[in-house]
């Protein structure tokens, strides 16, 4: 069997993830559902318990020591993310519950002041439901129209008609950076440039990009970028919204409450400065603090090494999958993240998911919260195996073996 010549010591890395040594149906867990959520290293779990055991306190307004320690830890995550994604200022980093909340925040606040009757929002045919529905809702509220960049049969964006799709009427281009269902990496930088030429703003959904490569918001030049902590080894319930300072300053608040105010009277309220204007109420302190441990862990391993290892896993899996009779890969873009989506002729994806689970293998089956992709490709759903840097070639080999067995049982 093939081996990886990369620099990652995956055997050692796997020891950092307690869950990877558990069994499912008496078989070693083979976790290939990383695009849904990543597993957590011990340092992240420790950061959570350390906070609750040693310095649990509400942040920002306290003058006692615990509040001070908690506030420093919380704010140091903001700076860690600022540095990682190359934002100009920590104030440009807003903590949210996740990608979905970040998109909803922008869809609401941006549309309040920028969207009028006859205006257009442009999304793509590869969007997750969370980058479709908030914009549909905004369009309904303001009488605007939702336009869609079509996709080709390889699952790439078809940009041949882009000049007609982006016009003076376009106020926002909201794009998925990496497709969760197919793995396609979209040319977001080019599209951003075209959008800016007509004065449109750009939001990038980087939920599936953040686990795989370094993000550089200044290079991308996007106005807003969102992602989730739980897909990059962090806890659930914490996400990031990046926005250019000028853009965020311009927007009205999303939710009202504590923390987001400067002064409140019954007649009038003035709002707090960035980032607090968008962080109403007691935030998710513990998970925010633990997110820093997650990012530091990924940076220690190194995004170049992660990308190299995941590419090897993907190309090995792709070769093995395409050798299976009647199996068709869905999503064969030139540029792909480590996601292998496929269908097998005459076999329902759900049946494959059930049988693979009996062998301890976790994959995802269905429409992957992207029903429009499935209808564009004429499918009801796919099987999706998504790989992380802690996966091994041996795991993929076992997955292929188990998949072949399942197919022969079902045919």
């Amino acid at each position: 069997m093939a081996s990886i010549a990369g620099t990652l010591d995956v055997v050692q890395i796997r020891k950092d993830f307690p869950i990877l040594s558990r069994k499912v149906h008496q078989k070693p867990l083979v976790y290939l559902d990383n695009a849904a959520t990543s597993q957590k290293p011990q340092v992240v779990i420790d950061a959570l318990t350390n906070y609750y055991q040693n310095y649990n306190a509400n942040i920002h307004r306290g003058i006692h020591s615990l509040a001070d320690e908690a506030t420093s830890a919380y704010e140091s995550t903001r700076r860690a993310i600022q540095t990682w994604i190359n934002a100009e200022k920590p104030e440009e980093i807003i903590f949210t519950r996740g990608t979905t909340e970040g998109i909803n925040l922008i869809a609401y606040s941006f549309s309040q002041i920028n969207l009028a009757k006859g205006d257009e929002i442009l999304i793509s045919g590869l969007e997750h439901h969370s980058n479709i529905v908030p914009w549909q809702m905004a369009c309904e509220r303001h009488g605007a129209h939702l336009k869609v960049i079509p996709i080709n049969t390889k699952g790439e964006l078809d940009l041949s008609g882009l000049e007609e799709l982006i016009s003076e009427r376009t106020k926002m281009v909201a794009l998925i950076y990496v497709s969760n269902a197919l793995g396609t990496i979209n040319p977001v930088k080019d599209i951003t440039e075209k959008a800016h030429k007509v004065g449109a703003k750009v939001l990038l959904d980087a939920a599936q990009a953040a686990p795989h490569f370094d993000l550089d918001v200044r290079d991308l030049d996007c106005d807003f970028l969102v992602f989730s902590g739980h897909k990059i080894l962090g806890p659930t319930g914490i996400g990031i919204l990046y926005g250019k300072e000028a853009e965020l300053n311009h927007l009205p608040p999303y939710q009202g409450g504590g923390e987001m105010i400067a002064e409140v009277s019954f007649e009038h309220t003035t709002y707090n400065v960035l980032p607090y204007k968008f962080e109403a109420g007691t935030p998710n302190i513990a998970d925010t603090i633990a997110l820093k441990a997650a990012i530091e862990y990924m940076q220690t391993i190194g995004f170049d090494a992660i990308a190299q290892h995941e590419n090897e896993l993907l190309s090995y899996a792709t070769r093995q999958l395409t050798a299976i009779d009647g199996l068709r890969l869905i999503g064969t873009a030139e540029k792909k993240a480590s996601v292998a989506s496929f269908v097998v002729e005459g076999v329902h994806h759900q049946d494959l998911g059930i049988l693979l689970d009996q062998d301890g293998i976790a994959i995802r089956t269905g429409h992957h919260c992207a029903q429009p992709i499935m209808s564009q490709l004429g499918l009801k759903g796919t099987c999706r195996a998504s790989f992380a840097f802690y996966n091994t070639l041996e795991e993929i080999e076992f997955f292929i073996h188990s998949l072949r067995k399942a197919i022969s049982m079902l045919r």
Partner: protein
């Protein structure tokens, strides 16, 4: 007429011969493949069970005081599992179905598929089987 309890015991007995999961699922797949397909005119949105990755249709009729179930799915394992349920409940009086317990699924090691947290629709299917029985029971009295 064989009771639900008797039929369940037979089923548990039938499954006790399988030594590993592959044999057990191969049997369920066979049951699914051999189940007569539901006639197309019953495959309507009203007969479709929601909350499922695959399509699952269920139709029921009352004949001479007994409920008869007809079901289908485009996923074969789910179809086989439905087949097990139809085999147990079809031809039983409504009151027996309403009060039947499903511990036999536990005994044959398939209770995980009945969990409402699994998106295979079987939990909704069981609920629908009982709802039909309850409706027939209510109409009778």
């Amino acid at each position: 007429m064989e009771s639900i309890v008797n039929k369940s015991e037979e089923l548990v007995d039938e499954f006790s011969f399988f030594e590993d999961w592959a044999d057990k699922y191969a049997h369920i797949i066979d049951l699914g493949k051999n189940m007569p397909p539901l006639e197309d005119h019953w495959k309507t949105p009203e007969h479709l069970i929601k909350g499922c990755q695959s399509n699952v249709w269920l139709h029921a009729e009352l004949k001479e005081g007994l409920v008869y179930y007809y079901a289908d799915s485009d996923a074969i394992i789910v179809k086989g599992l439905i087949g097990l349920l139809v085999r147990i409940f079809s031809g039983q009086p409504p009151a027996e179905i309403v009060h039947a317990d499903l511990s036999f699924m536990n005994q044959i090691g398939l209770q995980q598929h009945l969990s409402p947290t699994r998106s295979n629709g079987l939990a909704s299917m069981v609920k629908q089987i009982k709802m039909y029985a309850l409706a027939f029971q209510a109409n009778k009295s």
